[in-house]
């Protein structure tokens, strides 16, 4: 089995609430390896490029929002002035760009077997109110999409975690240069995987 890489970003709400250490520990104690780490302000351009600037992505995000609204019997038109999924996706992206610039963020590259699945499991549902206890989002937040939309802001869900194996590879290479990534052996590794 090959090792995978995942990108994890602790977003401004996690940073400003003093949760950086606690969140990093969650990944360390499972045995994931931090192969890159930096804490810095990110530029608008970088955030724009981090999220795909494609109709497919806008549509996906917009449709997810519309589905959530429909479930709750709410009118998306009232918040977004449109019920076009792509337009809604664009608005959500604008919110995200602003969100990422509220404070510096902690960017981490993680590596392990099944890294993506493990990171997603530990992170929990991207909508904090739906995330299980024991997950990072479930334990440290209870934000909901309705509330976020009502307040014209992005969902504050503490962390970003890569979605798929391909995304993990792509995002790690997007945020880190080769000489910012390191290979080393964790002290516990030989007891876990021998």
């Amino acid at each position: 089995m090959n090792k995978q890489k995942a990108l994890l970003i602790i977003k401004p709400d996690g940073v400003q609430r003093g949760l950086i250490g606690k969140i990093i520990t969650r990944f360390e104690q499972v045995g994931l390896k931090i192969i890159g780490l930096k804490f810095e302000w990110v530029t608008k351009e970088k955030v724009i490029a981090h999220y795909p600037e494609t109709e497919v992505w806008f549509k996906k995000v917009g449709e997810r929002t519309l589905t959530n609204y429909a479930k709750k019997g709410l009118d998306a038109k009232k918040v977004f002035n449109t019920d076009d999924a792509i337009q809604i996706g664009r608005t959500v992206k604008k919110w995200l760009i602003k969100y990422f610039q509220e404070s510096p963020v902690l960017i981490m590259a993680l590596e392990s077997y099944d890294c993506i699945e493990i990171v997603r499991k530990l992170s929990g549902n991207t909508i904090p109110v739906l995330a299980h206890p024991g997950t990072i989002r479930g334990d440290f937040s209870h934000d909901t999409i309705d509330l976020a939309n009502e307040q014209n802001r992005p969902l504050r869900n503490i962390i970003h975690a890569s979605d798929t194996v391909e995304d993990g590879e792509k995002e790690v290479n997007f945020w880190f240069t080769k000489d910012e990534l390191f290979s080393y052996e964790l002290a516990g590794e030989k007891f876990m995987f021998k």
């Binding site: 003093g18 780490l37 510096p104 002290a187």
Partner: protein, 193 residues
């Protein structure tokens, strides 16, 4: 009043998965992380982190002499010399070797009395002598006797600047010409306003 201090998590702490716990310790008191990066500096970069002057080297040699004296180990037998300059240089070389065991994490933290607070939380340089509940005492049993018997330096897995002046120099060294833009943390409105 508001100071900045430089904290470094050294290779053994990184390998043991203590990054989160160490960051949490500084975060919990309310200090604010201003910058951080993982890196694997080469020998020269590590060497220049320290003042490296002949006076400094001699001082380090003297410290080694006194810690040997305290533990009752014959320094001449163990190190082949009791000349503080030679001892200092010897320790300096071994120190650099220790730093090169793996990647490290360099950080700038900010807050009222940040330098003193960070030193207090870290504890005495030699873990065995550190006060209970400090980071050095909580996560290590290392001592001068143990380290010298294994031909290495004491693994002081956290570096924290010793004074405001030292912090200034070290921050400029590791984060040259960096502008640390302000941001607000949850404790700020309670204690800093």
């Amino acid at each position: 009043m508001i100071e900045q201090t430089l904290i470094i998590i050294k290779p053994d702490a990184v390998k043991r998965g203590l990054i989160g716990k160490i960051i949490e310790t500084f975060e919990n008191v309310g200090l604010k992380l201003m910058a951080a990066k993982m890196l694997r500096p080469d020998k020269k970069v590590i060497k220049n982190h320290y003042p490296g002057t002949s006076g400094w080297i001699k001082e380090m040699g003297k410290k080694t002499l006194s810690s040997f004296k305290q533990s009752g180990v014959d320094i001449k037998e163990k190190m082949g010399t009791d000349d503080p300059v030679k001892l200092g240089q010897f320790v300096y070389d071994r120190l650099i070797k220790y730093w090169q065991e793996g990647p490290i994490i360099v950080m700038t933290w900010e807050g009222p009395d940040a330098v003193q607070i960070a030193r207090k939380l870290r504890g005495h340089t030699i873990p065995l002598l550190a006060q209970t509940r400090t980071l050095h005492s909580s996560y290590s049993f290392d001592s001068s006797t143990l380290s010298s018997s294994l031909d290495r330096v004491v693994k002081t897995f956290i570096h924290a600047s010793g004074s405001v002046e030292e912090a200034e120099r070290e921050i400029e060294y590791w984060f040259p010409k960096t502008e640390f833009k302000k941001y607000e943390r949850e404790v700020d409105s309670l204690y800093l306003k």
